[in-house]
Symmetry: C2
Subunit: 260 residues, 2 copies
């Protein structure tokens, strides 16, 4: 147990969550190294939501509200860190969550299903169709994303395949690119501003997942008061490349001014 | 298997090695996230040995040759990535390698012993006393480093406890600080120039392990031609803080000039 007084309490708590999910068979080994990579980048941005990230969160919130059929794509790390927050966000949208694993095995699928259903509140939400957990039933997860090998490319018709906007927390570059090539608006959450995912996405949020998802939910709720025109205005002048450059500058300046 | 043509072949190969060591019970789960953190920082320095790192490698080589009783401290990640290179380096010194684990269990100790002894060449070197694998026998690993909890602080009299110079690849901040407080010269290899280990060590090499150890061996071999005075001249004006600042500047400039 990490003591709450530890200066990096939240970061260490998240690490524990990821290890716990690994022990439960929700996360692959690659998920542990990926989490470590994220930790480094979070450290570089100061372990807080930057102005730039807040900007892309606001734009992403507007885009999610403007979407016809938004879907939240989740993997092991996302479930480990933000299961409840993802459910809450999806409820503010159309309730669609789709499990999409890089290393898909029957066992992991079952462990993930269990992780959601063992939570009584989430179980009831699934039962009452407030949220829909897609991507786990092979009978409906049978559409293929072009240019991706079969397991990683399998998605559901109702979810990612037909989605106009896909939120992909912690996604890899290949899949992001394939989704963009299908004409979808891709919102990613990625702490590495230089990753292929970050560069290829329509909107890149360079922020840590457990800080970011609640902020997305907050702005989605808030922006429901706005009409279509107002939402479009929020999105209109967003320049993802400019945002990424600005983050690189921010990190760059931080490094230059750090005390050794 | 990673194809050799992959632009990040070496990095992916190292990741595979770490996962393999994890599967063999040599590495703890924390070792997988730690490896991921290293990957990010290596990416930021461009996955090559910087001028600054080469400078500290040269100074470290001279320091190791000037030492009365140098010891190479190793953990799971070091064994996973650089078992053979570490043996080779230690042979150029006094042959002393000491296993020091953050999460020490009997099982891991045995797996590590096996990892060394299953290699016939290394086994013979141990048998012929060309190298000495310390830190695994509880009967001789019974000295306590001050201000560290018991398991992590247990070291051997012959090795780390009496060493004047300790090379610690991939070490944590607490242990580094405790060793420095014991009056030892600590050479660390750490990809994060901002870590406590990097800041607290006498000489910090900000480089990736599998690039760094062979370079240390190379310079140790080369510097054997030099006399004491010449070696002392190499060490004399080294400023670790300045070296770290210079690396931060290097990363900072790289980030500023990167194409998105």
């Amino acid at each position: 147990m990490v003591p709450k007084t530890h200066p990096r309490y939240k970061s260490l708590l998240n690490r524990e969550k990821v290890v716990e999910a690994f022990d439960k068979g929700i996360l692959a080994k690659a998920g542990l190294t990926a989490h470590g990579r994220g930790e480094s980048f979070d450290y570089l941005i100061g372990e807080k939501t930057t102005t730039e990230a807040l900007h892309s969160i606001k734009v992403a919130s507007a885009v999610l509200l403007l979407a016809e059929n938004p879907v939240i794509s989740i993997n092991g790390n996302t479930i480990a860190l933000s299961k409840h927050d993802i459910v809450e966000l999806s409820e503010e949208l159309n309730g669609k969550i789709e499990v999409n694993l890089f290393y898909r095995t029957k066992e992991r699928e079952e462990n993930i299903k269990k992780a959601f259903e063992e939570d009584k509140e989430i179980y009831n939400k699934i039962k009452n169709k407030k949220i829909k957990l897609l991507g786990l039933d092979p009978a409906t997860t049978n559409k293929q994303i072009k240019n991706l090998d079969s397991l990683r490319g399998k998605v559901s018709e109702e979810g990612i395949y037909s989605a106009d906007v896909v939120l992909v927390p912690l996604e890899d570059g290949d899949r992001t690119e394939a989704l963009v090539n299908m004409g979808k608006t891709v919102i990613c959450i990625d702490l590495n501003p230089l990753s292929r995912t970050a560069r290829k996405s329509t909107i890149t949020i360079v922020d840590e997942l457990t800080r970011c998802i609640p902020l997305l939910t907050k702005y989605v709720k808030e922006y429901k008061q706005k009409d279509k025109k107002e939402l479009e205005n929020i999105v209109k002048n967003y320049d993802n490349n400019q945002n990424l450059k600005s983050i690189l500058n921010y990190i760059s300046n931080r490094l230059k001014n750090m005390e050794i």
